[in-house]
Amino acid sequence: MSRRIKIQLDGVSGSGYLHEEAAPTTAARFWAALPIEGTLRHVRWSGDAGYILASELADESIPIEHAVSFYPPGSIAFRPEHGEIAFCYGQAQARDHMQPAGRASHLATLDRNVEALLEAVASTRRQGGKPIRIEREEAK
């Protein structure tokens, strides 16, 4: 059974599962770093997504696994060079000022209370940053 994570964003909770088989190194490093707290801000280059920078995970030696350029809605994508964890709610792509089309690891997929959580992510575009906490969801 896949490891699960719980996300709390500005009073809205949801959860998802890690892609441990497809992204083993990324998932293991991410799991070890939990819990992660910070401010979720809207992306400036990548479209319909919010992101946090986890400096403890910024490591260019972490390989891109389960590679995507376009992020599926409800996915959590990780860019090792920035330690960037992105939550996609619509049309989005791994971009920055240097790269109009980069790549990221599809780290996890949301599957519980997805709609409400993605609405909260989308609201950061017009309302600014919101507090977020990502933690392990222990098996019951």
């Binding site: 400036r44 280059w45 792509q93 950061t124 017009r126 600014g128």
Partner: protein, 137 residues
């Protein structure tokens, strides 16, 4: 030289209208003033904030001396789309399809650092009101 007063969150900057760079777009933009609307941080174009333009004469003007990259403090417009972008750092006009072109119509020269600092904060603080009017000195 024509100047535009740009006010965001109580901070006023002065921008020089770039008439020689884009005579048609600059004239149409000047004619469209004053503008009072919502300013939103861009999601594709980097360190810039954008607002919608009403139709009118500007919408009929094509691109002039089009560019992709915007230096900080540059106001660019895409007339046909009715979009305007005001940059505060590295930015490039992009859409979901990739890099696009726009026309530079003004450049912030007065109280520049303070105005750009307000724009930069929008990434954390969200939408703000923007007003643009002819500066009478």
């Amino acid at each position: 030289m024509k100047e535009i007063a740009i006010e965001v969150d109580g901070v006023v900057g002065l921008a020089e209208l770039l008439e020689s760079n884009a005579p048609k777009a600059a004239a149409a933009f000047w004619a469209s003033l004053p503008i009072a609307t919502t300013l939103t941080h861009t999601q594709w174009s980097g360190r810039a904030c954008g607002f919608s333009l009403d139709g009118g004469a500007l919408q009929k003007v094509g691109l002039e001396h089009p560019v992709c990259s915007l230096y900080p403090g540059t106001l660019g417009v895409h007339p046909e789309r009715g979009e305007a972008l005001l940059s505060y750092g590295p930015s490039e006009y992009r859409s979901e399809l990739g890099p696009e072109y726009l026309t530079r119509v003004a450049r912030v020269t007065g109280n520049r650092e303070a105005l750009l600092a307000v724009l930069s904060r929008m990434h954390d603080e969200g939408d703000k009101r923007i007003t643009l009017r002819r500066n009478s000195g």
